[in-house]
């Protein structure tokens, strides 16, 4: 069960990091569009 929790944690972490990366990309895109 603890192995499952680790894999679930890693999956959630990867998704969270991908989300933050996309939010940052969105902000940079807004700056690019303003220029």
């Amino acid at each position: 069960m603890s192995g499952n929790l680790v894999v679930m944690g890693v999956a959630l972490l990867v998704w969270g990091l991908l989300f933050l990366f996309l939010v940052r990309l969105e902000r940079r895109m807004k700056e690019l569009e303003k220029r």
Binding site: W15, L25, E33
Partner: protein, 222 residues
Amino acid sequence: MIWRVLLLVWIAAAIVAGFAWAPLVPVLQETTRVFYFHFPSALVTVIALAWSMLHSVLYLARRDLRHDDHAAVAAELGLLFCIGAAVSGSMWAKAMWGAYWNWDPRETSIFFLLLIYGAYLALRTSVEGVERRARLSAIYSVAAFVTVPFLIFVVPRIYDSLHPDPLFNQRGKADIDPRIMLVAFAMVVGFTGLFAWLLSLRLRLARVERRRLEARTTGSDL
């Protein structure tokens, strides 16, 4: 921003449900969870490639370059999700069948899809002239999509496969626990939302690139 936060929560909830709520398929054991990433990736590949084909048809009908941008970006993302499906599938194959690649009909089909749409992107980079590139790519994209339903849905049903039977059997009934189905389809919705987000970001970048190119061309004309 609100729908992005909803997407974050939705996919996170589906991941937790896949691990903590949905049961395991006895024959698959722990590897059942790969299904929640593999199946949505494959389905979103089809959605992305269909979107690309639709906008290719619209480009040929209206000659509007915005449709060409849609077609190109959707094909890029389709290829990305297809790679996701191939990688998750090969890891699953290693666990279940002992080898990463077995030339199973579905694996062979996905290999051909990667080749076909890789060639589409190669075509886009090799043709000079915006209008000519858009026209040739649109024709190729429409022709390429003809193979998608054949490779994804027909070939694996004709030949014997290591893969299990399709989710829905001949009588149209699902041979799988409803909780597993629910999590899988929640992930399909989540992945489709992710595809829409990536599509909008990449389209905006394509617009900025086009505007800059036009500004540079106009600047050099003066």
